[in-house]
């Protein structure tokens, strides 16, 4: 039997959710028999393949590149999981939104000019440094999301609980201790 094709991606976030995924420890070995990681920061693939079964998306939508990827992923993936608080609610990355209409400019100024010790200047290279979105938003504001796994990060056992249900062919339901923000 084919293994389940699983992808993970990291948008605007701290990678903590991926770390938590790695905290699955020995369960990762069980998983290796059942799933194939076809695209992820932890594997080498450069292009997002077609016909992916599940994609775990960490992070909020912060820039044009995130958005482009997200639409590509949506087209090539059966089920998208908003993986962690940043993907589900926007979380910490959205805090720049409260800086007002020009927050995308302001936040860069603050980071690369005001706080720079030397070489102050905003990195800018067309086609290489993606433009920031006017507003950071959770991923469900742009595409259909099939499953939500909140938490900052979601602890390994909650990730496991979700994956087990997925592998059993169920529509995962997160309840009680499995559902918590923050």
């Amino acid at each position: 039997m084919d293994r389940l094709k699983v992808a993970t991606i990291w948008f605007g976030g701290c990678s903590g959710c991926h770390m938590s995924f790695l905290d699955l420890d020995e369960f990762l070995i069980d998983l290796a028999d059942k799933i194939e990681i076809v695209f992820s920061p932890v594997v080498d693939a450069k292009e997002y393949p077609e016909n992916v079964d599940v994609c775990l998306i960490e992070g909020a939508l912060c820039n044009e590149e995130n958005l482009e990827w997200l639409h590509k992923i949506r087209k090539r993936t059966k089920a998208i999981v908003a993986f962690g608080d940043c993907a589900v609610t926007g979380n910490v990355p959205t805090m720049r939104n409260a800086l007002g209409l020009n927050n995308d400019v302001n936040v860069l100024d603050r980071a690369y000019r005001e706080c720079a010790d030397h070489n102050a200047g905003i990195p800018n290279e067309a086609g290489i440094v993606p433009t920031l979105l006017k507003r950071v938003v959770p991923i469900q504001e742009a595409v259909h999301v099939d499953l939500f796994l909140p938490g900052c990060p979601p602890p390994a056992d909650r990730i496991k609980s979700l994956l087990v249900q997925v592998l059993e062919g169920k529509s995962p339901v997160l309840e009680g201790a499995d559902l918590k923000f923050g």
Partner: protein
């Protein structure tokens, strides 16, 4: 004051009437078109023509056809002058002697006037609102005398019950039932409150009544106070109505001076004083519990009912709250009897209703018609249809709590039940006509913005729900919405309606729901295709393995 004095005032007033009267509209609409100068010029012209003994120039309340103001009408000929310029005064005086006026002569027999039936507005445009004698000459305060000296409290309540009068503020609660509850509520202190916080955009009936016939409201309140056992009344009126406030203050002063307010009215043991409380610009204060908070000097936030004001209202005392038009109906009912009133209107909606006709319609102004009059009669015959060859598309009633009635339902009789069935409400009486150029999504967005701005912020569904609904409506209006947004909007409408604390939130979705019901295609035309990609089935597992 006793009956003989009252009769004397009336007779003296009638005896002083001159051969000709020129009634000059001094309600806010005409005042803003310079009717004060018209009146002054008319008075001057009378003196110049040496006709002081024959002609009286009388400032009166609203003469209804506001769009053609300033209005002047001559008695006994009934000739109506429209858009009168102060310079035309002299020529108008000359018409009394057969001359030709340099002002437009209107048709006083037009359906706009002839189809009206006046109870509440009977004195409007006839009596001088600034002189109590003028009101007394029109049988004013006679009902109060009758009630205080010849009726038991319970009889008064029974009379109102028998008349079938229902609240004119919007919901149409039976007035007699309310009075009965307050009358029965235990408490040594009770209050009567007149709700004159007419906040619905597009409604100006209450303003006109207060400006045109303030004493009828005072008399109605006094009768109500006697019936329920209250000695103190409040009129809560909007600060936006300075002329109405001024006339009310003046009316209260005159009534006090004549002993028609105060202690031992008509030599009975009944005392009644009325104070004016001026609102400060909060639509939500039209809601009765919020209004009471405001009278108590607090933030106008509503509280859950029960307890109803009839049991626990101002300062915890039983309180009767009725709207201006409701009180204005009281004295005529007492004067003419409950049966007379019950004979007008439909089975469940008795009497007449005053509407403020505005928007895309030829004749804008005030009309009073029997309950059950078809909308078509009002907007087409009386209102004269849409101007500039336009086509009527919908009629909005009930303001931000009401709905839009589409043109194909114009044969609906105007009564509480029929409007309710169409997803609208009678409301306080604003009636805004819309033509084919009106965008219904924009109308819904306009009302939602109103409710969002006017939400007091106390309960979550109204405070945050109106913000989200407004956001969704704006999105759809701008062509950025999708079918998902429309679905979210409808869900929110249902939720906000069912869970909000007060009437403002509970009815805030009405304009949206009603435009969705009758003009859904206008929403759907604006929707964008969904770019959200395929919706997964939430079952990514081996049930659907990849090839």
């Amino acid at each position: 004051m006793d009956l003989s004095e009252l009769t004397q005032i009336k007779e003296r007033e009638l005896a002083a009437r001159k051969k000709y009267t020129l009634r000059c509209c001094m309600a806010a609409g005409c005042v803003s078109s310079n009717s004060e100068a018209v009146k002054q010029e008319l008075e001057k012209a009378v003196v110049e023509a040496g006709l002081q003994d024959q002609v009286e120039v009388r400032g009166v309340g609203c003469m209804r056809l506001c769009c053609e103001g300033p209005l002047v009408q001559a008695d006994p000929s009934g000739m109506l002058f429209e858009q009168v310029d102060p310079e035309a005064a002299k020529s108008i005086i000359q018409t009394l002697k057969g001359g030709k006026a340099k002002a437009r002569v209107g048709d006083a027999n037009a359906p706009f006037f002839k189809k009206q039936k006046s109870i509440v507005l009977a004195n409007s445009g006839i009596v001088d609102p600034e002189r109590i004698e003028s009101y007394i000459a029109a049988d004013g305060y006679h009902a109060l005398y009758h009630v205080l000296r010849e009726m038991e409290r319970s009889e008064v309540v029974e009379e109102i019950v028998a008349s079938g009068l229902r609240g004119r503020g919007g919901a149409g609660f039976p007035t007699g039932l309310k009075w009965g509850t307050v009358a029965k509520s235990a408490g040594s202190r009770k209050f009567v409150v007149c709700n004159a916080d007419e906040g619905d955009p597009g409604a100006f009936m209450d303003r006109s009544v207060l400006e045109s016939d303030p004493h009828s409201v005072l008399e109605g309140m006094a009768i109500a106070a006697y019936a329920v056992g209250a000695e103190q009344g409040f009129i809560y009126v909007r600060a936006e109505y300075p002329l109405a406030i001024e006339r009310l203050k003046n009316a209260i002063k005159q009534a006090k001076a004549k002993g028609l307010l105060g202690a031992g009215i008509f030599e009975s043991p009944f005392n009644f004083t009325v104070d004016i409380r001026i609102g400060a610009g909060a639509f939500v204060c039209g809601e009765e519990t919020a209004l009471m908070m405001s009278i108590e000097g607090r933030r106008g936030t509503p509280r859950p009912r029960p307890p109803f004001p009839a049991e626990s209202g101002l300062w915890g005392c039983p309180t009767l709250i009725n709207n201006v038009e409701t009180f204005a109906n009281v004295a005529p009912i007492i004067r003419n009897g409950a049966q007379w009133f019950a004979g007008i209107g439909t089975e469940k909606s008795k009497g007449t209703k005053v509407f403020a006709l505005a928007g895309k319609i030829q004749n804008t102004g005030l009309i009073e018609v029997p309950m059950g009059t078809p909308l078509r009669t009002i907007v087409e015959e009386m209102g004269g249809g849409a101007p500039d060859g336009g086509r009527i598309k919908a009629v909005q009633t009930g303001g931000p709590s009401g709905g839009c009635i589409p043109a194909d339902s114009l044969d609906t009789p105007v009564d509480y039940e029929s409007l309710g069935k169409l997803g609208s409400i009678m409301g306080s009486g604003g009636m805004i006509v819309m033509d084919q150029t009106t965008n219904m999504v924009d109308v819904a967005r306009f009302f939602m913005e109103f409710c969002m701005d006017e939400s007091c912020g106390k309960c979550i569904p109204c405070r945050a729900g109106t913000v989200q609904m407004h956001h969704l409506l704006t999105k759809i209006m701008e062509g950025k919405g999708t079918a998902r947004d429309l679905q979210k909007l409808e869900e929110l409408c249902d939720m906000v309606r069912s869970t909000s604390l007060c009437g403002l939130g509970q009815t805030a979705p009405n304009p949206t729901l009603s435009t969705l019901r009758f003009f859904r295609h206008e929403y759907e035309q604006r929707l964008q295709p969904d770019t959200f990609g395929p919706r997964g089935n939430g079952k990514p597992a081996r049930a659907t393995p990849s090839a």
